[in-house]
Amino acid sequence: MTQDEKGAGYTAADQMVVSAARHIKDTDVLYVGTGLPMLATVLAKNTHAPNCTVVIQNGTVRKSLFALPRGTDTLGTQTMADQLCSLYYINYLGQAGYVNKGFLGAGQIDRYGNVNDTVVGDYYNPVHRWPGSGGANDVMSFCQNTIIILRQSKRRFPEKVDFVTCPGYLDGKPGRREELGLPPNTGPSAVITNLGIYVFEDREMVLKSIHRGVGVTLDQVKAEVGWDIKLASDFGDTQPPTEEELRVLREKVDPQGLWAGGRRALAGPEEDID
């Protein structure tokens, strides 16, 4: 597995968080999950996207800066919010089409972007159990673009997940989401890991870039994907973090090192199965 590349001055985990933050635009209305997605969001808010609106499922809508929260709801995320409301209200915004971007962690993700946060193996006799959807199914059902961030391994990237907690493009056929009644023009748009960045071409996940700056190779990425993954038409190397992005991440966003060394110390849907 990828570790810190000596001399690079940053880790694969740093690259993952910085790359994820770059997917956030200043104009976004963003539905954010706890953990890695929130870390990337707070980084983006401190760098290039100070004006993005963050919605948090428990009932928080906010534009002003806030400190990295350790839970889904905290006094810090409530304080000086633009609006405090109910979980249903947040999801009404999403369901009615007013949240353009979602940002989630995941247990597993498959070739067509379906996410499993529930069970590996049989539902009633599991090999592994995660806590379940939480708000993740809602985010992925409603948002125009959903970005998924997770650490990559072959077990986390099966060709087909055992359980669809959050619908991606299902079997990959055109129009499947709309046939099922999901809002049109919604679904996953990017997947960011500690090895590379993926996008969707014709609803299939393809490799857009690898984190060559921390020594990741194409063979290494392919070994950690459960199907023969295609390369995106503009495949290349991931743009490394800038010194400024790293400085803000370490000094301002996560000064306590909750994320130090890629060790997960934030509450989130991820839980190691490797």
Binding site: I56, L75, Q78, R129, G132, S141, F163, C166, L182
Partner: protein
């Protein structure tokens, strides 16, 4: 009419074996003191409806929950001591899983008094395969495939709030999770509150009331009633410290013996926690440098004659 009573009275009078119980909170101000009292009274065979309620682990670990309607719970038995304890007693709850919005909409249908609610969550996922309360229908107007969730009407709902009056007019502020729909869907409502205030305080700020007194059966004044969770305007929480303390067998069993079965009520509990955590522990959790809202005009006074 005052509905004020002790926690012990409220729980024994209104929560019964076999009930469907809604617990508010969703990481913001759950009714921890009430949950501890239910465990102490060993009220069992509960169906619990809850989202992100941390101290629910004691209801499960003590074998009191038959069914759990939820969107997120640490179900890995290798990691969760309460689940493995429940399993060893053959008291493992059946989990009935929704997305958070789906569960919220089932409670919303309950609050509204309609049999189900259309939603666009769950569609295309495998969640409905294992939950008979989630189905799809053709929209009667357009024919479009539409998700539906069956209404949940809990027998009892418990909420912890910042302030309420003696009649039960309850005001909670901050993020509200599923509190409003959950508590309003419930047939019987227990309000636990940091402070019982004069009705005049409620009536000068009536927009903040989330359930009116006539829907409430019991009011319990219980400072720090949401600890170890935070409560907006009152105190910060210690959720992670609490999870570290009670997450594994030894810590869990010690906690349950000492802090649930070993005390008679929450005030005794708080005293014992203070002794065990240090005198400044609760002081440190109190809100420093509070942000105050601007007073607004909500009415007028009759001119003096």
């Amino acid at each position: 009419m005052s509905k004020v009573m002790t926690m012990k009275e409220a729980i024994s009078k209104f929560v019964h074996s076999g009930d469907t119980l809604f617990l508010s909170g969703a990481q913001h101000g759950e009714p921890s003191a009430a949950i501890h009292e239910i465990v102490r009274q060993r009220i069992d065979h509960l169906t619990v409806v809850a989202c992100l309620v941390t101290t629910i682990s004691f209801l499960i670990g003590e074998g009191l929950v038959d069914r759990m309607l939820t969107g997120w719970y640490m179900q890995n038995q290798k990691v969760s001591y309460p689940l493995s304890k429940a399993k060893a007693m053959d008291k493992l709850p059946v989990f009935v899983e929704y997305s958070h919005f789906g569960l919220s909409m089932a409670l919303m249908a309950g609050q509204m008094g309609v049999p189900f609610m259309p939603t666009r969550c769950h569609l295309g996922s495998d969640i409905p395969k294992y939950n008979e309360n989630i189905k799809t229908i053709a929209c009667p107007f357009t024919g479009v495939n539409t998700g539906v969730v069956r209404a949940i009407v809990p027998d009892v709902g418990i909420i912890h709030v910042q302030r309420a009056d003696a009649e039960g007019n309850a005001q909670k502020w901050g993020s509200l999770g599923m509190d409003v729909e959950g508590i309003n869907a419930s047939k019987t409502v227990i309000v636990t509150t940091e402070k019982i205030v004069d009705s005049d305080v409620i009536r000068r700020d009536p927009n903040r009331t989330i359930i009116p007194g006539f829907r409430v059966s019991a009011v319990v004044e219980q400072p720090w009633g949401a600890y170890p969770m935070h409560l907006g305007g009152c105190y910060d929480g210690d959720m992670f410290g609490f999870m570290m303390e009670t997450g594994r067998k030894d810590g869990y069993e010690t906690y349950v013996e000492k802090f649930i079965y070993g005390v008679s009520d929450w005030n005794e509990y708080l005293k014992l926690r203070r002794e065990s955590k240090g005198n400044d522990y609760f002081e440190k959790l109190k809100i420093k440098n509070p942000v105050m809202s601007e007073p607004i005009i909500t009415g007028y006074q009759e001119a003096a004659k």
